[in-house]
C-alpha cells in the first residue's frame, strides 16, 4: 500500500475536493483520497499492485483537474 501526495492546483472550490475524493469509490485499488482545496493537494493511499500512479492521474484528469506528483 502506497501513500502519495499530489498537487492539484486547479480546484476552484471546496466541492472540487469532494469530487476528487470520489475516486476512492470509483477507482479499484484506491483505498482513500483526502483532497484539500485550501492546500491545493490530494493524498492518495492506494495498492500499487492494482492501480498505477498514471491511472490515478488520468482519473483525476477525467474529472477536469490536473494532479502533479509531489
Amino acid at each position: 500500500m502506497l501513500k502519495k501526495t499530489y498537487r492539484v492546483n486547479d480546484m476552484y472550490c471546496a466541492n472540487c475536493a469532494m469530487r476528487i475524493e470520489g475516486l476512492e469509490d470509483d477507482l479499484p485499488g484506491v483505498k482513500t483520497v483526502v483532497a484539500s482545496y485550501k492546500k491545493g493537494q490530494m493524498v492518495v493511499e492506494f495498492d500499487e499492485k492494482i492501480v498505477t500512479e498514471a491511472q490515478i492521474m488520468a482519473a483525476v484528469a477525467r474529472l477536469g483537474y490536473t494532479a502533479v506528483a509531489g
Binding site: 471546496a14 469532494m18 485550501k38 491545493g40
Partner: protein, 385 residues
C-alpha cells in the same frame, strides 16, 4: 424588501450557476437512477426527447433545497439576533461579513492561494456521506428530497456569502426570507440546466466564474461600506464623498418657546442671533451656521424617505444643544432604522410620524454622521462655530 429582491436577483444571476457548479453532482446523483430507469422503460426507437419523469425529481430536489436553506436562514438570523446587541455590533458584523465576501471574490478570481482560506470546507465525513448517498440513490422520490436538503451542508461560495448576510439580519424571519429569496432565485437555472440535461452549467460556469467573483466582490464592498456607515466612520465612501457635495443644505430653524434641556455651555452661543435659514447655494459657507437666541430651541428638520434622508447634510450651531426632528411619511425602507453612532442612538421610527432626538452641545467643526442601520442611507450634521 429591497434586500430580498437583491438576494433573488443574486440567486438568479450568479448563485444559480455557482450552486450548480458545486451541487450539480448531487442533482445528477439523485437523477441518475431515475433517468436510467426511464431509459430502460422507454419505447424502442424513441427520439430521445425530454424525459417525462425527470422534472419531478428535479422539482423535489429543488423544493427540499429551498426548504433546507430557508430553515438555515432562520437559524442564522436567530444566531445573528444574539450577536446584534446594538447597531455598533451589527456594523462590526457587517464589516466582517463584507471582508469574508471580498475574500471569497478574490478567491474566485484566483488572485492568491491565501484567499482559499475564506471558504468554509465541510467536514470530510459529511462530504463522503453525501457523495455515497448520491451514488447509491434509490429510485423513489425520497432520494432527491434528501439530497436536496443535504445541499445545505455544501453551500457554494455565493451561498456562503448570502448565509453571512442572513446572519447579519439578526432576525430569524428576515434570515429565512433572505435565504428563501436567494435559493428561489437559484432554482430556475438549476431546473433548466438539469432538465435539458446538457453541459451548459459547466460551460457557463467557466465563462461566468469571473463575473460571479466580481459580483461577490462588489457585494462585499457594499457590505463593508454599510458597516462603516453605521459606525459613522469617515472612511466610508459615502462619508468621504459627502464633503464633495456642492452645498451643505441648510435646514429650517424652528424657534420654540420650550426651554432647552441642557444648560448652554458657552456665553457666546447663548447670545447668538436667530437667523432665518438661507436657501441652499453652491457655496455652503455663504449659508453660514445659525444660532438661536439664548433659550430658543433649535430644531433641525430631517425628512426620512424610503430612499434616504433629506437633506443629506444639515448645519447646526456648535456649543449648544439642538433637536433633530425626524419625519416619516409612509416610510417602509430601512431608512426607518435610524442610527447616530456618535450618540449611540438607535431608533426604529414609526412608518408615519415624527420623532425628536435631543443632541447635546457639540464642539465647532464636529461632523455628526447618521445612517440607517444597514448603512445604506447616510447623512451628516455639521456643527459650525
Amino acid at each position: 424588501m429591497e434586500q430580498l429582491v437583491l438576494a433573488f436577483i443574486t440567486g438568479l444571476t450568479t448563485g444559480g450557476l455557482s450552486c450548480l457548479a458545486v451541487q450539480g453532482g448531487l442533482l445528477a446523483g439523485s437523477l441518475a437512477r431515475q433517468i436510467e430507469q426511464d431509459l430502460l422503460t422507454a419505447p424502442a426507437g424513441g427520439k430521445g426527447g425530454p424525459r417525462p419523469n425527470t422534472a419531478l425529481p428535479i422539482a423535489l430536489f429543488l423544493a427540499a433545497k429551498l426548504a433546507a436553506y430557508t430553515l438555515l436562514g432562520a437559524l442564522l438570523g436567530l444566531a445573528g439576533s444574539f450577536l446584534t446587541l446594538d447597531p455598533i455590533t451589527r456594523a462590526v458584523l457587517m464589516i466582517a461579513i463584507g471582508v469574508f465576501m471580498v475574500g471569497n471574490g478574490l478567491r474566485m478570481l484566483n488572485v492568491h492561494p491565501i484567499f482559499r482560506y475564506f471558504i468554509i470546507e465541510p467536514p470530510r465525513f459529511i462530504t463522503r456521506y453525501i457523495r455515497r448517498t448520491a451514488k447509491g440513490g434509490k429510485t423513489d422520490f425520497s432520494t432527491p428530497l434528501f439530497l436536496g436538503a443535504l445541499t445545505a451542508l455544501i453551500p457554494c461560495g455565493v451561498t456562503q456569502a448570502m448565509m453571512a448576510a442572513a446572519l447579519g439580519t439578526g432576525r430569524a424571519a428576515a434570515g429565512a426570507a433572505l435565504m428563501f429569496a436567494f435559493t428561489l432565485g437559484t432554482s430556475p437555472v438549476f431546473f433548466i440546466v438539469a432538465y435539458l440535461a446538457t453541459e451548459l452549467g459547466a460551460r457557463l460556469q467557466s465563462y461566468f466564474l469571473r463575473f460571479v467573483a466580481v459580483v461577490v466582490l462588489i457585494l462585499g464592498l457594499v457590505t463593508i461600506e454599510g458597516g462603516l456607515n453605521v459606525l459613522g466612520s469617515p472612511l466610508s465612501f459615502a462619508n468621504l464623498t459627502a464633503g464633495l457635495q456642492p452645498a451643505a443644505q441648510v435646514p429650517a430653524i424652528t424657534p420654540a418657546p420650550a426651554p432647552i434641556s441642557a444648560p448652554l455651555p458657552t456665553a457666546a452661543a447663548a447670545t447668538g442671533t436667530q437667523k432665518a435659514a438661507a436657501p441652499p447655494t453652491a457655496n455652503a459657507p455663504a449659508a453660514g451656521p445659525v444660532a438661536g437666541p439664548g433659550n430658543a430651541q433649535i430644531t433641525l428638520e430631517l425628512t426620512v424617505l424610503n430612499n434616504g434622508y433629506v437633506p443629506k447634510v444639515l448645519r447646526a450651531p456648535a456649543n449648544r444643544p439642538v433637536s433633530l426632528a425626524l419625519t416619516t411619511n409612509k416610510t417602509y425602507s430601512c431608512a426607518r432604522d435610524f442610527v447616530i453612532p456618535a450618540l449611540k442612538y438607535y431608533q426604529l421610527l414609526p412608518e408615519t410620524g415624527r420623532v425628536t432626538v435631543e443632541i447635546p452641545a457639540q464642539k465647532p467643526g464636529t461632523v455628526m454622521r447618521f445612517a440607517c442601520s444597514m448603512g445604506m442611507y447616510t447623512g451628516q450634521i455639521l456643527f459650525d462655530g
